[in-house]
Amino acid sequence: MKKIRVIIALIFFFSTVFLFIDFRKLLPETFYDVFLYMQLVPSLLKFISAVSIVTLGFIAVLLLTSLFGRVYCSAICPLGIMQDFILWVKKRINRKFRYRYTKPVNYLRYPFLALPVIAYLSGTIFFVSLLDPFSNFGRIVSDFFQPVYVFLNNTGAKLLEKANVFFLYPEEISMSGWVAYMFPAFLLGIIIWMSLKWGRLYCNTICPVGALLGFLSRISVFRIRMIEDSCTKCGKCSFACKATCINIKEQKVDFSRCVGCFNCITACPENAIRYLAPVRQKSLPKEADYSRRKILISGGLLVLSLFGLKRTVFGEGSDFSLSHKHKSGLPRNVSPGISQNTSSGHQQNVYSRHSQNVNSGLPQDLNSGNSRDPDSIQNMEFNSQLPQEINPGIPKEIPHNKVPTTIEPEKHYTVTPPGSLGIKHFTDTCTACHLCVSACPTQVLQPSIFEYGIMGLMQPYMDYVTNYCNFDCVICSEVCPTGAILSLTMEAKKTVQIGKVNLIIDNCVVKTDNTACGSCSEHCPTQAVRMVPYIGDLTIPEIRPEICVGCGACEYACPTRPFRAIYVDGNFEHQVALLPEEEELEQEVTEEFPF
């Protein structure tokens, strides 16, 4: 039993780790589907958000649990398997180490389950993100292990290149602010500490999935049972129990806390602890009598309420502007009465209001928490300061146009990745597992700090200071396990408008320095910014926002500092960009050389 569990766990663990560190995207898409299918929280969210029956992985997990107990926790959950790793290492070092039975910490365990569920039902996914084991694992791997992997790759590449072998290539990692990495670091610390001290206590006290499955495992068919007649109370099973759920004195197993590692079975010399179906059991543990009906009802209620939620969000959808306003720290003066499902006309209305009233909604932390380039658009309250005061923050190497630009871009909405439909859908569905962050080939997706407000902490956003979105790429929409970024075809993606281009011509180097540039237009895949004749031979940018897809290439490429001359302002709801017109060119074929 234990061997099977270990093998399955290793397969799941390493596959999941590799998914999160695979910056070259060596793995095919099917690989993602297979290994993410059984992740409970992402699968559940995708089911709710994508309104799709192909994402029934969570039902499989629930069925599995009701049949076999929490095998998910030891064989599928990457965070659980990671703890097993830590414990395995500890056991190697200290062979005499023994676990001791502890009482369940139910006063923490169930609140930690209730908190994300209630918060989610009332409209914020924040606590789900914070507590979901898959997302936590994803953040840990993507934020810490991937850089290590890239570093190893780069070192390997350097060494191989010395030997004139060009098999590996170095990769540059770009990370925006370190603040977003604080939480995963903190959590990794907590997990290491808790597991070293108390085994799988995290899974039985803090993890809401553990609590939920624990709840369900009270009714599971196969379970760990002690055969009282053969048991000599030697305690070996209890010493081997990572979940510390075997009470040897009373010969009871708290199966709600059992993570299904089967170490106890291997440990028992008398074969007195077994994994049995009820038919063969000789003595039934008392807690099995625990009012099953009640649990079934509450489980059913939970599923029903989730369906109900799905309906409120997708069926009616009228109240979300209001709830969103509360949720996010972004300035959003959306009047509650007006439905957000309207066209750009309403958007315009929102925009114009913001331009007058933009600072009011911004939390103060936004400025202090932003450790990136001072040219970052979020520092709206710096308006009054002179650029010179901001300059010391810029590293010396960054080139300056002769005249520092003075006009600050005015962004109203953070840009969300294509396929995410808009800020509302994205921030409601993303658990910040950072799979897209590690899969994105350009690294334009970066963990947010306060870009979506405090409740959107760590949810990825399109960071056009770091890079831009590749026009011919839909990788993030393919990998997203929760449905926050819905799958897009390549053709559809090319017309999804995630934001619109804005030009501050007075910042443009062509105008300030009277020299040629064209960097924005050069990068633009649709020519939503094109170069038109200016003075003499010079050309100057001109924008056509209606064909802009909002990829941010122009903003990334614009060389002026501290403020860029061109930038993308996010669309609260993604729109459809018009296709660039195509005129036929004359095929001029001359026989003569023009020289």
Partner: protein
Amino acid sequence: MKRRDFIWKGLSAGIITGSALAMNPFKKAMGAVQDEQAWDLVAVKGGEPGLMFDKAILSLGGMKRYVKPNQTVVVKPNIGWDTSAERGANTNPQLVARIVEHCLSAGAKTVYLFDHTINEWTRTYSNSGIEKAAKDAGAKIASGNSESYYQPITIKNGRLLKKDKVHELILESDVFINVPILKSHGGTTLTISMKNLMGVMWDRSYWHNNDLQQCIADFASEIKPTLNVVDAYKVMKRNGPRGVSLSDVVEMKSLIISEDIVAADAAAAKLFGKEPEQIGHIRIANEMGVGTSDLTKLSINRITV
């Protein structure tokens, strides 16, 4: 041997061989493999990219004139964009492959190939078709998108650009073959050989910030390719340098090859339908003496296939 030394020695060797040939009574017999006249520039029209290159390089005396046995060669095409080959945003893969083959059959030890791309490089390398074509031809593909490869240089004759960081393969290889594609460009009107050198240096935004046209000319005064091969097979006439769709591209089926980077660009500009003086960096580079844009002063071999 440093590349610069090589060029110098190669040139002197060339002069000696040339003069020896001039006095050789068996000149006619040698002429079978080598054209009698040393052309400054060769323009070819009407063939497939590989074939046009065969004709052009033969007319210049074969690749052996540039690549000596056991030397290292770096080929620098334009692989800037994540678009397919027919879009004309990246250099033609067949042309690149044929150049690699010529270098290897001339005895090159290794032929490296890279570009500091604009879109994500692994995608541009593969989607342009260049990675596969070049690998099949025997080139070693290197990355140009990691700053660690770039070494500082000083630009002695630069008017504005005094120093920069250049890819080590450019600095270390014996022979540097620049293979741009002729395209329209929103900022610099055209992008040809000199503009293609923006893919061997690191910090492009500095140039964009500080008089782009002057920087292009300054850089070309320091980093001189052994040979410039301008791909004008499919030419992007508008919306360059990335292009929006296939409708931006016309088939010109032409190729220009020259040791003089300014001459190559001037001829390509004319092919495109522009006067060399209209293009800022060509005009400046001509003034600075990087090369000559006056095509009437050059001996040009015009070949129609």
